[in-house]
């Protein structure tokens, strides 16, 4: 079976998604267990496949036995394989984390929830692994549709936001598809590697420029970059905690991955790509600043985290618009680090019992006493987003700064630093409440009062992610030299 690892990564969650609604009729527990098992085995496959790819070079898997460009291929290279590992890891943790939430749903809806969660995972994994631009579109839609439903399951305000998301997401997908059509008209192929070769021979012209712009814009919209993030605050704030945790952590990262893939591995270097990157860089600067400033203005922690995501996605876009080795390393490291950190932050907030703790910043007073472990993880993740050593966020900021200085882009460097200062302001505002403001309802003692501690199913994933943020930071050298360096495009 090992020669089929690339497809098994995707098949595990997909097969489970198909079986879960059937199993759930017999036993809800079995359906839950199946969900966790599927994500876990997907993670195992992804790690194994990535190891093979690192040892033996890119791994091409021809689906249906048809060689590309006639058939569809899966490619496990360090970039795609690494992304798959991130997605599968988060999925595994969230499938555990979702336990208490799913148990509160009716059996059919619980099954639908689990199944959609698995389908979302499937879609994201498919995007990460596919070597075919149209297949990417199909999985983009799988993940989007599943995301719409999961986000909307959080109540009416989430539904309105999700509706907007669905419209914007469809526009994005249509742009992507249209751009793909332009490139297909010019080359006759859909396979990424083949397209890269064919495009070299195509003389630049307005059709190619428009195709590239449409493709890039479509993916950028999916990423919810700065001016197009409007749907995010409501959707993330009101969606169920496991959904927010998973989607905030990985969904936009996967779009960022697709953007990197298209910009650096498919499209030929030239004026069109340069223009696209220049536009992206200003979008990024706007996003970084606007995200940080709007985050400052929020009183709801989850909303604040959403805006911080807008800013942090700006970091990633900035990295790829600068586009040199250091900046791309930073962007990729930030993809990893921010996925772990954001998952951890939303997870920690979501693990607090709703009746005792509001998500208003003031409602977090004394949370450190009630949920010390979750809040410790929250702190580490927050420090990572502020960019303080030795967390992951510091090191990605380091590479990004290095890239900006190498490219003589001083403005970008300053923007990065200013935004992390703003990040410090809004995160320490929360941390101050968590640690230094006494809980109005509890007596002031040195001994923590385990009034209603969060379920261990929620705490374990959050702690794992918190630890991951630290470890990614401390061992980023290993990560960069053994994976990320190989994932960089040839510049």
């Amino acid at each position: 079976m090992t020669q089929h690892l690339p497809i098994l990564i995707v098949l595990c969650p997909l097969a489970a998604a198909l079986v879960v609604p059937l199993v759930a009729r017999v036993s809800a527990r079995a359906a839950r267990a199946l969900t966790m098992l599927a994500t876990l085995s997907s993670l195992v496959c992804a790690v194994a496949a990535l190891r093979v790819a690192l040892r033996e070079g890119d791994w091409h898997y021809h689906l249906g036995g048809w060689a590309p460009p006639w058939g569809i291929e899966y490619v496990v290279d360090p970039l795609g394989g690494g992304m798959a590992v991130i997605v599968a890891l988060l999925a595994t943790l969230v499938s555990l984390y979702a336990g208490p939430h799913v148990r509160g749903l009716s059996s059919l809806r619980g099954a639908a929830f689990d199944s959609l969660f698995l389908l979302l995972t499937t879609g994201l994994l498919g995007i990460a692994l596919t070597g075919d631009l149209f297949n990417l579109y199909v999985f983009l839609e799988v993940s989007s549709l599943a995301a719409y439903a999961l986000l909307a399951s959080g109540g009416e305000r989430a539904v309105v936001a999700t509706f907007r998301y669905a419209l914007i997401g469809t526009i994005a997908a249509s742009f992507y598809l249209l751009g793909l059509g332009y490139l297909y008209a010019l080359t006759g192929t859909l396979n990424m590697a083949d397209l890269a070769i064919q495009l070299e021979a195509v003389p630049p012209g307005s059709a190619m420029t428009v195709g590239i712009v449409l493709l890039v814009v479509g993916l950028a919209i999916k990423m919810a970059v700065f001016p197009l993030h409007g749907w995010m605050p409501d959707a993330y704030t009101y969606a169920p905690p496991p959904v927010t945790m998973f989607i905030a952590a990985v969904m936009s990262k996967v779009s960022a991955y697709a953007l990197i893939r298209v910009l650096f591995f498919v499209l030929p270097a030239g004026d069109a790509v340069e223009t696209a990157r220049a536009v992206l860089s200003w979008v990024a600067v706007g996003g970084v600043l606007a995200g940080s400033i709007l985050a400052l203005a929020q009183t709801d922690v989850r909303r604040m985290l959403v805006y911080s995501s807008v800013g942090q996605m700006g970091y990633i876009v900035l990295g790829l618009s600068i586009g040199n080795a250091a900046a791309l390393t930073g962007a990729l490291l930030h993809v990893v680090g921010h996925a772990a950190a954001k998952g951890c932050l939303f997870g920690a907030i979501g693990s607090l019992p709703r009746q005792t703790v509001q998500a208003e910043i003031g409602g977090l007073a004394g949370a450190a006493r009630r949920a010390p472990l979750a809040m410790a993880a929250f702190t580490i993740a927050a420090l990572s987003l502020v960019g303080l050593p030795p967390t992951a966020g510091f090191f990605s900021k380091w590479y990004l700064l290095r890239g900006a200085l190498d490219a003589d882009a001083w403005l970008f460097a300053v923007v990065l630093l200013v935004s992390s200062l703003l990040g410090a302001v809004y995160f320490f505002r929360v941390l101050e409440q968590v640690y230094f403001v006494p809980d109005p309802s509890a007596p002031d003692t040195d001994v923590p009062s385990p009034a209603s501690p969060p379920s261990w199913r929620m705490v374990v994933p959050v702690l794992t992610l918190g630890a991951a943020v630290l470890l990614i930071g401390l061992f980023n050298g290993v990560l960069v030299s053994s994976v990320i360096q190989h994932a960089l495009p040839e510049l």
Partner: protein, 145 residues
């Protein structure tokens, strides 16, 4: 539905029409490989017939597909599709490489059979989902909107 259309003419027409639709669906499915059509179109026709039944004769009419069964179909279709893919994976080929399925025929024939199998999966799945979506979107019997 709040009410069925209940007219005897319509009812009779439906009785007459539905079997033909099923026949047509089967034709579209089977002849998908040499004429326009295939599993998806067959599934749409099948679903259309079931929706028609629902519209004309109400929710509990027979023969029909309950929502729960629709979910089952929706999952069973892809399962059939993926199952054929996995079967070819187990027979030594790549995923969905149905030419390698261990059937006593020449490989191209096997492929035709495999194609038919997956098209059937598509049909079942599409039927199930479309009926399901209709059920979800359609107004409820109890008058809630």
């Amino acid at each position: 539905m709040r009410s069925t259309f209940g007219s005897p003419v319509l009812d009779a027409a439906t009785r007459l029409l539905v079997p033909f639709m099923w026949l047509f669906a089967a034709y579209v499915l089977i002849h998908g490989h040499d004429s326009p059509g295939g599993g998806f179109q067959a599934g749409v026709i099948l679903a259309a017939s079931l929706i028609l039944l629902r519209l004309v004769r109400g929710q509990g009419s027979r023969p029909n597909l309950s929502s729960r069964d629709a979910v089952t179909c929706a999952c069973a279709g892809p399962l059939l599709y993926g199952g054929i893919g996995v079967a070819s994976l187990l027979s030594g080929g790549n995923f969905l490489d149905y030419g390698v399925l261990p059937l006593p025929m020449d490989p191209v024939q096997v492929r035709v059979i495999g194609t038919l199998g997956i098209e059937a999966g598509v049909m079942v799945g599409v039927t199930g989902v479309l009926v399901l979506i209709f059920d979800v979107l359609a107004p409820w019997d109890d008058g809630t909107v």
